[in-house]
Structure formats: structure tokens, C-alpha cells
Point group: C2
Chain length 342, copies 2
């Protein structure tokens, strides 16, 4: 195999017997080139196996048709799904996506943003709204279009998301409606994760509104895994009085909790009710199926792509897109058990 250096525009030009400008036009504005020439050029392209060099093109044309996304991690189904839809929408518009992950670390996120800017991203997708002011400063000083997703944005920052606190409050009210008064929560790790923190806040708000003591709510934080959900559930069951309902910050924790409940000989929902959040595939597949908040992740990704493309194009657009989420009532939430004191 010949390890040939990549052919360049001028190689093509030489082989085709035209100028580099003509080759460039052939590739970008074929209409400007007469058919015979075009064919000659394309033949040369074929023959040499020419592929345009992105750097050269970006440098000369000052645009990249590229947007970047910085997500906490790919190992979370909700991001994977949303980003996949985001990407599909972009591809449809001839734009490529650069994905970077921050591991939930704001410093790494800032670093990745720098990298993406350096790579000429025309716009950025960021997750959630909580990040240092310095990061927002950077973005705005650069005039870099960006869209926040998976949460509401502060100020007038453009976003495509939903109110996590409000949704958490909604599911909490449902739990209360079912007669539960001893409630516990298994939250995602809230440090550097405004979505997780907002969900805790939402639960507390709902309790307070119902005249209960929000500060008394036992909350255990757990990383995003079945196993950690299980462990947290077991710990929560040690709390006295024992919760009759456990509200989980996401479906994965909830599934872990259900599993442990069964292992502990507790019937769900007869002995203890469990709720989730996100409505990922597995939510409807566990037994009992999870009562949860349905979030249309794909739709959110698509809408985010549309908004970002509009911002980049400088078009007028509704900058604050609230996505509807809805409560999905399923088997894991039932009426509170009769207490002996009741």
C-alpha cells in the first residue's frame, strides 16, 4: 500500500488541467462551471481519491458547518438518545456534530468549550444551566450561539428544556394524593448537576405546599446505577418512621430500588411505592412498571438542533422553548398502606 501524502486541490487542478479556483468551484458551486470542465475535474478527483481538507477550507472560508455539544457523559441513556436525535437533525441540515463529555466537571466543561470554539464550532449545545459565570462570559464575548437543554435557562439564555423542579413537584403531589405522608427520596448526585438538584427542590416545594415539613424529608444521593439505587433504598428503609413512598431522581435509581424492595420482602406498591423520572425504556419493563415523568428526549434533541441552527443563521426565533413533560401513572405507585396509628 502506498502511503501517499493526501492529494491537494492543486494536485487535482494539475491533473485536470485547470486552476485551483475552478476545482474549488466545481466542488462548492458546480453551477458556475461548464459541464465539460466539471466532468474533467470530477474525473481527476476520482482518480486521485481527493478529499477536501477541512482545516484549509475552514481557514479560508471562515465557517465550518459544525456545532459542538458538551454532555456530562455518554453513559446515560437520556443524553445518548437526545444527542442522537440532535445529530440526526443536524446531519439533515448538512452540519456535523462534535461531541465532548465533561464528566459533570465544570472546569472540564469550560475546557471542552474552549476546544470546540477553537475547532471553529458555529454553535454549542450545553446541558443544564448551572455553570460558572466565566463560562457564560466567554460564550457571550465570543458571540458564540448556544442552546441549553434538559433544563430551563436563566436570564434570557436560549434553551430547549423543561422545569425539573416543577415536574418533580407534580409527581410528589401525586404521591401525596395517594395518601402517603412518610416519604423518602433517592436523588441523583446534585453537586454540579442542576437537574438533579432541581428535582430535589421540586419535591421539597410540593411537601411544603402541602403543609408538611420539607426539611424532614430524608434524601440520599446516589450515582447513576441500579446498584447504587438499591443500596440507597436499603439505607432509606432504615429511616424511622419508614417511608411508605420513595421518590427517585431518575428511573435507573428507581429500578434499583424496586429490585431491592422485592429482595427485602417488601411488596411494591402494597408495602412501599416507588417513582422514577425520565421514562426511559426500562421504566415500562420493570415489574411493577414505574410511575414516572415522561421526558421526550428525542424531541428535545431535535428542537434544540432547530433552535441552534436558527440562532447561528441569525434568524428570529423563539429562544425559550419549554418542552412538555407528563406524569405517567403506572403500577409502582399505589395508595399508602393502612398504618396502625391511622
Amino acid at each position: 500500500m502506498k502511503d501517499s501524502p493526501r492529494p491537494t486541490l492543486s494536485d487535482v487542478a494539475r491533473v485536470a488541467g485547470v486552476s485551483t479556483a475552478t476545482v474549488s468551484r466545481c466542488l462548492n458551486e458546480p453551477g458556475l462551471v461548464v459541464q465539460a470542465t466539471r466532468e474533467r475535474v470530477l474525473r481527476a478527483v476520482e482518480e486521485l481519491g481527493y478529499t477536501p481538507d477541512f482545516s484549509g477550507r475552514a481557514l479560508a472560508s471562515r465557517r465550518t458547518n459544525t456545532v459542538g455539544a458538551v454532555i456530562p457523559t455518554m453513559e446515560n441513556a437520556i443524553f445518548a438518545r437526545g444527542i442522537q436525535a440532535f445529530q440526526e437533525a443536524l446531519t439533515g441540515a448538512g452540519v456535523t456534530l462534535l461531541v465532548a463529555s465533561s464528566g459533570y466537571d465544570p472546569e472540564q466543561e469550560a475546557q471542552q468549550i474552549q476546544t470546540l470554539i477553537g475547532r471553529g464550532a458555529d454553535g454549542l449545545l450545553l446541558i443544564g444551566a448551572a455553570r460558572p459565570a466565566s463560562t457564560y462570559d466567554l460564550l457571550k464575548r465570543r458571540g458564540m450561539p448556544f442552546v441549553l437543554a434538559w433544563n430551563l435557562g436563566a436570564g434570557d439564555d436560549p434553551f430547549v428544556g423543561f422545569d425539573n423542579a416543577d415536574a418533580a413537584a407534580r409527581i410528589t403531589r401525586k404521591v401525596l394524593e395517594m395518601g402517603h405522608r412518610e416519604i423518602g427520596m433517592i436523588a441523583g448526585v446534585t453537586a454540579m448537576n442542576d437537574r438533579a438538584a432541581d428535582r430535589v427542590r421540586g419535591v421539597r416545594n410540593a411537601l411544603r405546599d402541602a403543609g408538611l415539613d420539607a426539611d424532614a424529608l430524608p434524601v440520599i444521593e446516589a450515582p447513576y446505577s441500579f446498584e447504587d439505587g438499591s443500596r440507597a433504598f436499603e439505607a432509606l428503609m432504615q429511616h424511622s418512621p419508614r417511608p411508605t413512598a420513595v421518590i427517585c431522581g431518575n428511573d435507573v435509581l428507581a429500578v434499583g430500588a424496586i429490585k431491592r424492595a422485592k429482595a427485602m420482602g417488601l411488596a411494591v406498591p402494597e408495602d412501599v411505592s416507588i417513582t422514577g423520572f425520565d421514562d426511559i425504556d426500562i421504566a415500562s419493563f420493570v415489574t411493577p412498571a414505574l410511575t414516572t415523568i415522561h421526558v421526550p428526549h428525542r424531541r428535545m434533541g431535535t428542537a434544540a438542533a432547530q433552535l441552534l441552527l436558527q440562532l447561528i443563521a441569525g434568524e428570529q426565533a423563539r429562544r425559550r422553548v419549554e418542552i412538555d413533560v407528563e406524569l405517567r401513572m403506572r403500577g409502582s405507585l399505589g395508595p399508602a398502606p393502612q398504618t396502625t396509628t391511622g
Copy 2:
């Protein structure tokens, strides 16, 4: 917010009162610049909020410290996990990752490879071994280092993977050992997916080796979702004689199958045994837990990164890395039920 054009190297140079070469050196080889100058330059960088432009740098230096990966889809936990590890390993080496997805379409894959080459990727990660010869030609003509993952590579192509057929045969032998003779299979979609196809082949091989009629194996292909696994299971149960064991091409299908089995009033594994493949988190969380093939996806991602970096650096390296997978025996596989004819 001033929508200032990005500051360039020469802006920094002007502010710091030095030449562009010195600024460049400050950023890339700080050792070559005397402390006083360095401080002055860094202050200017800070003040202007300068970020190096990737295109300019790539164009001038002929290297990008970038590798690309083309995966079928992000919406599959096994890729998400492997790629996450792949990325972490790269980041540790100061290399950035560009991810593209092909939607299991070889043409799109070739397209994405072109794009990544155009973007100056120093190397590529590709999934599986099956793709048109033209794609391999392109890669080799360019002298582009690449690593295949999630399967064995053909010829002497470098890979980090495992033998899907062999692993599938292994789990099939186990099923046979448990006394099952009426076996069915729910496979992933095999078109354009050599891993899925190899798994089917492996099952057939094992049956043949056991003196059974491999062609008689009922196989239903299903997309990667719980729901499709369920549907396929139900269809398979119409087959006569009804299978006492269902081998699934992946864990997601298997979980779907288990759920439907229960819904149909079939006990697992008493009435029907079900096996999976991949050992994703949920495999140990379903009831009964899945007997499956454990694949260390993260380890594979890390190893792939190491190999790719070595190839790029032109170092001598073992180019064919076979990853160990192992059978995880859990509750979903039990002895074949007594038949009336037995």
C-alpha cells in the same frame, strides 16, 4: 456584549509587543521562551481571551491530535460505554475524539470516514469488520491508521475485539448441556451487522457440532429494543415444537423476552430458558437474572485507544488484541423441562 471577532495570534503578539513566533512558542514550547517574555505573553492571552484556532494550527503543523470513531449508533449502551472509556483514554493522552454515527449504513459509514479524514483525524476507530472493500482501500491508500473493535478483524487488520461466533457457540453449548433440544433464537438485525450475524452463526455451529440440524433453528430478527424482543419472543412461541430455550443476540432482546414470557404465564426458567449477550447492567437486575456472555466494554475501549495511539505513533504493537469474554451463569437458564415424550 461585544461580538468581537476572535483575537488571533498576531493580536496577542501586538499587545505583548513580541512576534507571532514568540507567542506560538510560548503556547507550545514554553521552555524556549524566557520567563519575563512568557509572562507578558500570557497576560496578553488572558486579557484578550485568546484561544488558538484549530484550523490554522492543523494546517501549519500537519497534525491534529485528533482521532475519529464511527459507531452505528449512540443509542446502544455497549457502544456508549466502550466509547466513553475510549475517549477517557485518549483525553489522558492529550488527544480529542470526534464521534460520528452511521446508523448501521455502510455508505454513511464511508461518508463519515471521509469527513473524519478531511478533518485531519490521525487515526480511526471502526466497529466490526464487515464493510465494502472500497472503504478499506481508501483507508490503506491514505495510510490512515485504524482499529476495528467489537469483533475480530479479517486479514491482518488491527483489532481489539472478541470472537462473537465463538462466544455464541459457547453459550449454546451450555444450553445444550442443560438438556435443551428445542431451541429458538432471537437475533439482532444481521443485515450490515457482522456481530449480530456472527452470533447467529455461532449458535448454528454449536448445534451442528452437537449433531443437531442447524438449519432447523428458528431465528427471528428484531431491532434493539425491549419491545421488539418481547414481540419476537411471542412469535417464537408459536413455533412448533415450542422451544424450551431461547437464545438472544443481546441482553435487551433477552429482557424483552423474559417480560413477555412472564406475561404469557410461562415461568423462566422452568418452562422456558432465556439467555442474553453483552452483560449490560440490566442483565443482573432482571428477574430471573440473565445468563449471558460478559463483554468488558470499557476495557475494550481503553485497549482500542492504546492500540490506536501506538499505531499512530508508528510504534511496534501487537495489532490483534483478543479480549476475553466469559459466560455468566445466572437464573434465566435452567434444565430443560421434562417432555411427555421424554
